[in-house]
């Protein structure tokens, strides 16, 4: 049986999300945040004990900012699910250091409905504010191959909700079919139907390499756009982003104002899009920022003390996501970033550290000896 108290909160969150990306209701958000927290406090005993240790109960806090956050890595160690027996969908993290140590996030039917709503409404407001219809080409594994990848779920949802006929995934059992994607882009050119290419940032880089090697270039029809998710590790973010945008223009004929980056993660149901397409529609000429949808909030905290930092200072990003009702709303990441005009920006993973002493580090040890820690 789906608990009525959960259902009641879900209905209110859903109508909050369905008001789209252009409303601001701080009080309404805060009320729903505390109500979601109360559910998590009630239904997740482990989380309740965690909050009790900190002296926090739903009754003694006034703001979503006081809800105890949980670090992303915790999902690798324990299961934090509101209604575990009603799980209909589970997403796993990729397990970057130890493949056996994957983070796990479960969704019940109500929670999944919230997630679907965030995907649709964020995309409407930020990827397709011009309501254009396009063929959606996805450089990611199809859902039957990667049923537990949150990005795949999201892109599949985009394909089904926004894609014209001919939309499809291009990573199958035999890997990335770059030839087929090139064919699809050629058809778009010939039929003069806009294309929306989405995928992981690395997938795009692979495709650009393929196009370069095969001396192929496209001039996609007006209205075509690129949506890349995540980032590219190992290099300075700014440099990589600039190159990336140049390649979109050079190889696809998609100008930079039609390129949108998205940050999503397994631990949060909602996604954070660049606001450039949205701003373009409004005639606003701001530097691009990650847009904070009305059903979420972002806090920047001191990496050492985890206390909130003044606006504009760089620290660790903490998300509060109403659509996370099914697990934990307050998620602490180790992504570095800061609040800027129009939203926030991400400046890399704090996890990418420089070595200071002569002691072997965790990463070095796993690279050198193959020893993977599992705690």
């Amino acid at each position: 049986m789906f608990p009525p108290d959960v259902k009641a909160v879900d209905e209110d969150i859903l109508s909050f999300i369905e008001r789209g990306v252009d409303h601001r209701d701080d009080e309404g958000f805060n009320r729903l945040a505390i109500r979601s927290f109360a559910l998590q406090y009630k239904y997740i005993p482990l989380y309740r004990r965690y909050c009790q240790r900190r002296g926090v109960t739903p009754g003694n806090i006034a703001s979503w900012k006081d809800v105890p956050p949980v670090f992303t890595d915790v999902f690798k160690a324990v299961r934090l699910t509101l209604l575990p027996s009603l799980t209909v969908k589970t997403f796993m993290t990729s397990g970057t250091v130890n493949p056996d140590q994957k983070g796990r996030v479960d969704y019940d039917m109500g929670g999944l409905a919230l997630m679907k709503a965030t995907i649709s409404h964020a995309a409407s407001g930020l990827l397709f504010p011009d309501r254009i219809k396009s063929r959606l080409f996805v450089i990611a594994p199809s859902p039957d191959i990667a049923p537990n990848m949150v990005m795949v779920f999201g892109m599949n949802r985009l394909k089904d909700s926004f894609g014209l006929q001919g939309s499809r995934f291009f990573i199958g059992k035999n890997g990335f079919d770059a030839d087929a994607l090139a064919d699809a882009l050629r058809s778009s050119e010939e039929d003069n139907i806009p294309a929306t290419i989405c995928g992981g940032s690395f997938g795009f880089i692979n495709f650009f390499d393929f196009l370069r090697a095969n001396r192929l270039k496209f001039r996609l029809p007006k209205g075509s756009r690129c949506l890349d998710a995540g980032g590219i590790k190992g290099k300075s973010r700014d440099v990589v982003r600039e190159e990336f945008l140049d390649y979109c223009g050079e190889f696809l004929g998609v100008s930079r104002e039609f390129c949108v980056n998205l940050i999503g993660m397994t631990e949060t149901a909602s996604q954070y899009y660049d606001n450039n397409l949205k701003n373009r529609g409004l005639g606003v000429d701001n530097l691009p920022a990650k847009f904070i949808p009305p059903w979420t909030r972002v806090l920047v905290v001191n990496p050492d003390t985890l206390e909130p930092l003044p606006i504009g200072e760089t620290g660790l990003l903490r998300y509060f996501d109403l659509a996370n009702r099914g697990h934990i709303c307050a998620i602490q990441t180790d992504d570095l970033g800061r609040i800027i005009d129009g939203g926030f920006e991400v400046s890399g993973r704090a996890g990418e550290r420089d070595v200071r002493g002569c002691s072997l580090t965790i990463e070095e040890m796993s690279r050198m000896t193959g020893i993977m820690e599992g705690i």
């Binding site: 004990r49 965690y50 990496p303 200071r356 002569c358 002691s359 580090t361 705690i375």
Partner: protein, 486 residues
């Protein structure tokens, strides 16, 4: 805001064909700014400098009696041990800004390093590695050879330093001087300020000796400059991560003798017979010192302490006592500043341990409350060695029997550096030999992990004798006129 000016290089006396133009690096932490000057280098200048060092080494250093060199080094260490010594006072201002280590930790580290760099230690190190230090001055009779031997050091040693451990690269300069080798050091970006001051001390005592010493900084990977240095070298001593070392070594000509010091790690082992209430606080304080020195950034520092079940004090109780000691240490010798990544790593790990603890697993975590200052985690030995995120994060692994840990150490063999043992019964001898077989380079007592002697075979290498070339005289006639010193 206090601005401190200093040099990020050292040129030997008399080397100033044209002093290259200088750039200034600015480093800020808290209310202090350090301006470090760096010369702009070209391969021609590096080659010129290397040549100068060798020329002066042939002229002065190669003929200096080893006793005189020892005397100078001893005097330098004594100057640095004096709290009023101006260079020390300057170093204590600069190094915390450069490294993020607390001034208390830097103060302690200079004492530790310099106390083990005094005359007696130096002579003992020479003796243990060469048999007779006078082999370095002239031919000496060797009974085992029934002839005469002499040891020669390389003309020029080029050394690449890494990391931010202050007062460590000076050992390389000391050893180079002892075997009468010129030394050109490439400073580490993490701590380029100590060596220029130390070499100035040598210059103040004996300018002729200092003519064979130089220190420079450039960003690692500069092929032109690195080749210019290595092409003139007879030996190279390299510090750094294995991957960096591999790429640097590609630039070293084959004739050059190379010693490498890669990143390593340490651990501790406490046997059940040492775990009693009487000695608990003292033992915990010693272990806390091991963990806090250099905030675990040194390869000597422990990542894990293995604690045996069955003693009067349980592993969990020991972890509690250790937590108290860590708390005290935080006041006495505060931890240094962390990068966001270092802090995030500790917070992520703490989160996982806290939830496992709440989940009823046999895990106990003790941790500083306001920040990531220190963390002690106690759990059953998972059978896999766990590298620490460093910065005063220690795991106490409970084991039924100390010998159970050997299989987990074996795959780490080439990276094992330092082990602190307190076993308290006759299993210790056997245990030590098993650790030696597994790859451990140094075995010591808790509280002593950060304090190796000059005699220590650093990274399992004989740092002095590995660089020597021997000349043996096995002539039977007695008319070659080599006189013995003894």
């Amino acid at each position: 805001m206090e601005v401190i000016e200093a040099n990020g290089f050292y040129f030997p006396p008399g080397f100033s064909p044209e002093m290259p133009p200088v750039t200034t690096g600015e480093y800020q932490r808290g209310d202090k700014i350090v301006h470090l000057k760096f010369p702009v280098l070209t391969k021609k200048k590096v080659a010129l400098l290397a040549g100068y060092l060798k020329e002066k080494r042939d002229k002065y250093l190669s003929g200096m009696p080893v006793e005189k060199i020892v005397h100078t080094l001893d005097k330098a260490s004594r100057l640095w041990l004096d709290r009023k010594y101006p260079y020390r006072k300057l170093a204590l201002k600069i190094i915390p800004v450069m490294t993020g280590l607390s001034p208390g930790a830097v103060d302690e580290s200079i004492d530790v390093e310099m106390k083990s760099s005094l005359k007696e230690d130096i002579l003992r190190a020479l003796k243990s590695e060469t048999g007779n230090p006078f082999y370095l001055d002239d031919f000496q009779y060797s009974e085992s050879l029934n002839g005469y031997c002499r040891a020669f050091g390389p003309r020029l040693i080029v050394s690449f330093f890494s990391g931010n451990i202050p007062a460590l690269p000076h050992l390389v300069f000391m050893r180079s001087l002892l075997i009468k080798s010129a030394c050109l050091g490439k400073l580490a970006s993490g701590e380029p300020s100590f060596i220029p001051l130390y070499l100035k001390t040598i210059e103040d005592i004996d300018p002729e000796m200092a003519c064979s010493l130089a220190a420079l900084y450039w960003k690692g990977g500069n092929k032109d400059l690195e080749s210019a240095a290595f092409n003139q070298a007879d030996a190279a001593i390299l510090f750094g991560g294995v991957e960096t070392l591999t790429s640097v070594m590609k630039r070293i000509p084959r004739r050059v003798t190379v010693l490498t010091h890669g990143h390593k790690l340490g651990f501790g082992v406490l046997g059940r017979n040492r775990l009693n209430y009487d000695a608990l606080d003292a033992l915990a304080a010693s272990v806390a010192y091991d963990i806090s020195m250099f905030d675990q950034h040194a390869c000597l520092a422990p990542h894990v302490y293995y604690v045996e079940d069955g003693g009067e004090v349980s592993p969990k109780e020991f972890a509690g006592a250790l937590a108290n000691a860590m708390k005290k240490m935080e006041t006495k010798m505060p931890r240094g500043a962390l990068s966001p990544g270092e802090a995030a790593l500790i917070n992520q790990l703490r989160g996982r341990y806290e939830f496992r603890e709440l989940n009823g697993e046999d895990v106990t975590m003790f941790a500083s409350s306001k920040n990531t200052g220190w963390t002690v985690v106690c759990e059953k030995d998972p059978g896999i060695f766990h590298a620490s995120p460093l910065n005063r994060f220690i795991r106490v692994f409970a084991v039924h029997d100390i010998f159970e840990i050997i299989p987990a150490l074996r795959p780490l063999g080439p990276f094992l550096q330092n082990a602190a043992l307190s076993i308290g019964d006759n299993r210790e001898k056997e245990f030590i030999s098993r650790l030696g077989e597994a790859g451990v380079a140094r075995i010591t007592s808790p509280g002593n992990m950060a304090l190796p002697s000059m005699m220590w075979h650093h990274d399992g290498i004989a740092p002095i004798s590995s660089l020597l070339r021997w000349c043996d005289v096995e002539k039977k006639e007695n008319d070659y006129g080599i006189k013995s010193i003894d």
